[in-house]
């Protein structure tokens, strides 16, 4: 009797569990004609209408096919992707940051798209830097999606008040302007140029401007270049530039805080970053905000900027590779790219380039070494750590550069 009651109680819970399992768990079988696309949230907040219209066109060209867009964040999309590579259920098209590509291409995570390359609009004139990030051992795995460069966003009212009539054409001139801006705006924490201390995209621009580099491949082996005299000159110039112009934290990155938030507080006369920074400068300064290309140390040149961007790839685990490729064709068509351009991005091909500040800045650019393990250097914060050591004076430029250079070489040369 007593035992039966307990057994009944058990039965109830087990049944409840089973019911819960069946009601909420109806698994959708993989629809034969449906593709799943992973795009970054930038598309959701920036050009969701483009995504919708491309899907519409794609679905009318491929009747009966549905497109399932799943938006991802930069922080964890690779961990999610890894899980699907191991267990299945992953996307048919994935957006990858251009610095993330090499590791996955080397491991064979993507389908070879070389044979269908000519079918993509403007594939003959793809932006060199961006197209290179999708190529491994001569085969094309990634289709350039869009690019972004870094520019100077500034307050024209403050520049005028400080008596700066002409935009700087060299790093030295910009530094001199910064001193004038500082003299007019003595507020605590005010930066004539807001630079996050460990913004390695900007720090490395100085290295490339002085003819240095990060690493290079010599007969199959990676060699660190940061400790070379030219790179050291660039890093020293960065250190001096930061000291003279920025009151930002020396150990922070370019998202903590967001430079545009500092700018919107009225605490910066200019800032370095992607051109879309102009979106968020605050209502007060919207009217007086403009942009120019960061000048190099040789007067009249522009400083090489990091060419950021995204590629689209088809994972090897996809069962709909042909459809996936067709979708990428629609999403990177000339008309799609023009829409992206209108949203402030750099389109994927040189023949589409206009002459906005953003696009002019891209004319002189640099890219990270295309090494299988590069992403480990990035995630290991080797460059950020080096910049923090240099700016805080914990190590001399030479010591910090030497240790980072050795560190990078050993990471890149891993089997």
């Amino acid at each position: 009797m007593k035992r039966r009651s307990i057994a009944a109680l058990l039965l109830v819970t087990v049944v409840a569990a089973a019911v819960a399992a069946t009601t909420s768990g109806a698994t959708k079988k993989a629809n034969a004609s449906s593709i799943t696309v992973w795009l970054q949230t930038d598309a959701q907040s920036g050009w969701a209408d483009l995504v919708a219209s491309v899907n519409q066109k794609f679905q009318s060209d491929h009747p009966g096919t549905t497109v399932n867009i799943q938006y991802q964040g930069w922080g964890d999309h690779l961990q999610k992707f890894d899980a699907t590579l191991a267990g299945g259920g992953g996307p048919d098209v994935i957006e990858m940051g251009n610095t993330e590509m090499t590791k996955y291409m080397a491991a064979g995570a993507f389908a070879d798209l070389s044979s269908s390359k000519s079918g993509f609009d403007n594939s003959g004139s793809w932006l060199k830097g961006l197209a290179a990030s999708g190529v491994y051992k001569g085969k094309t795995y990634g289709v350039p999606y869009y690019a972004g460069s870094r520019v100077v966003t500034y307050r024209s009212d403050l520049f005028k008040k400080a008596g700066i009539s002409k935009l700087p054409t060299s790093t030295a001139a910009y530094t001199a302007d910064a001193k004038k801006l500082m003299a007019k705006n003595g507020k605590k924490g005010f930066s004539p140029i807001y630079i996050a201390g460990t913004d390695w995209y900007f720090g490395m621009s100085f290295v490339f401007d002085y003819g240095g580099g990060i690493a290079t491949q010599v007969s199959g082996k990676w060699k660190g270049l940061l400790a070379s005299p030219k790179s050291i000159a660039g890093l020293t110039a960065y250190k001096n530039f930061f000291a003279a112009t920025s009151r930002a934290s020396k150990t922070t990155d370019e998202t903590h805080p967001n430079p545009y938030d500092v700018y919107a507080q009225g605490q910066a006369a200019s800032m370095i970053g992607p051109s879309w920074f102009s979106c968020c400068v605050g209502a007060k300064y919207k009217g007086s905000t403009a942009q120019f290309v960061m000048p190099g140390h040789v007067a009249g040149t522009s400083m090489p900027g990091f060419l950021g961007g995204s590629d689209l790839a088809v994972p090897i685990t996809s069962s709909q590779k042909a459809l996936a490729t067709d979708w990428i064709k629609d999403f990177t068509s000339t008309s799609s790219e023009k829409t992206l351009q209108a949203k402030g991005n750099i389109p994927n091909a040189t023949n589409l380039l206009g002459s906005t500040v953003n696009e002019r800045a891209a004319s002189r650019s640099w890219f990270v070494p295309t090494a299988k393990h590069w992403v480990d250097v990035e995630n290991g914060n080797i460059l950020r750590n080096m910049l923090a050591q240099i700016l805080t004076g914990k190590l001399s430029v030479k010591q910090a550069a030497q240790s980072a250079s050795d560190n990078i070489a050993s990471v890149l040369n891993q089997p």
Binding site: K2, S45, G89
Partner: protein, 274 residues
């Protein structure tokens, strides 16, 4: 009121202020217009509160769907886990049986597993049973984490109940189930509440596994929905993020208020005051 009581109350209020300040700051920010949010001098209470951030947050895609998903996941997980764990806790606290030590080791050991290490193995297993991208997959995953600690804490509460009470009832002719219903269950009130509140909050707030296991935005939970506010490379909208965070906290508070009234949180303890 005695001055000593006043002193305790003042201390209680001071602790309250310090503890609650971050929550207050979140809510206050949610009501501030953008220029006050980024201002260098803080505004403590916005005099002209704006509801824009809340309307913005609610109108983002999938808000209500994801709230519903979270509620389903949490309710099923908590109900099943507490029921199953209570039974096991009785076994541990009231029975001597061979293999008990082993069971204790299992219960404790499970909690020591670093969750980060389990991401891929769990994904692979759930994918094999087609439970990736389903609420069931998340529910069973959560159960494996909620069950052990529920067993563990419920057992602690059971140990605090003198078994002489049950024995006396048995002597008086109650059945085993009668003892369970009439003695154990009411006395376990505070313990069951504390444990289920904890289970509720843990599952409601869980992020990592929900993020990895759920891909469709229409199947995600509220915490994953929330992450779309700050995982973008683009502008982080602080006001909307704080408004959205405030909204996600609401169900937990409501749940707690409900059970608090049921079990009369303050009553039993009011008697204990020394």
């Amino acid at each position: 009121m005695k001055p000593r009581q006043l002193g305790w109350d003042a201390l209680g209020i001071a602790v309250f202020v310090v503890m609650v300040f971050p929550v207050f700051w979140m809510i206050s920010t949610a009501f501030k217009p953008n220029d006050l949010i980024v201002s260098l001098t803080p505004t403590w209470i916005p005099l002209h509160p704006t509801f824009d951030h809340f309307t913005d947050a609610i109108h983002r895609p999938y808000f209500w769907t994801d709230v519903k998903n979270s509620l389903i996941i949490v309710c099923v997980t908590v109900a099943l886990s507490i029921a199953l764990a209570f039974l096991a806790a009785i076994a541990l606290a009231r029975f001597g049986f061979a293999g008990r030590k082993l069971f204790v080791v299992l219960v404790i050991g499970i909690q020591m597993l670093p969750q980060a290490g389990l991401i891929i193995p769990l994904y692979v297993v759930l994918a094999r049973y087609h439970q990736v991208n389903t609420l069931t997959g998340v529910i069973v995953t959560y159960m494996t984490f909620v069950l052990p600690f529920s067993v563990w804490t419920l057992r602690g509460f059971l140990l605090g109940i003198p078994k002489e009470l049950e024995e006396a009832a048995m002597v008086d002719g109650s059945t085993r189930v009668g003892v369970f219903l009439k003695i154990l269950l009411p006395l376990m009130g505070p313990g069951l509440v504390a444990t289920s509140v904890f289970a509720f909050i843990t599952t409601w707030n869980e992020y990592i596994f929900a993020r990895i296991l759920l891909n469709d935005q229409s199947k995600q939970t509220v915490t994953v929905w929330l992450s779309y506010f700050y995982s973008t490379n683009r502008h982080t909208d602080w006001g909307a993020l704080m408004a959205a965070s405030t909204l996600t906290a609401v169900p937990v508070v409501v749940f707690f208020l409900l059970v608090q009234r049921r079990i009369a949180f303050g009553l039993t303890s009011g008697a204990v005051r020394g």
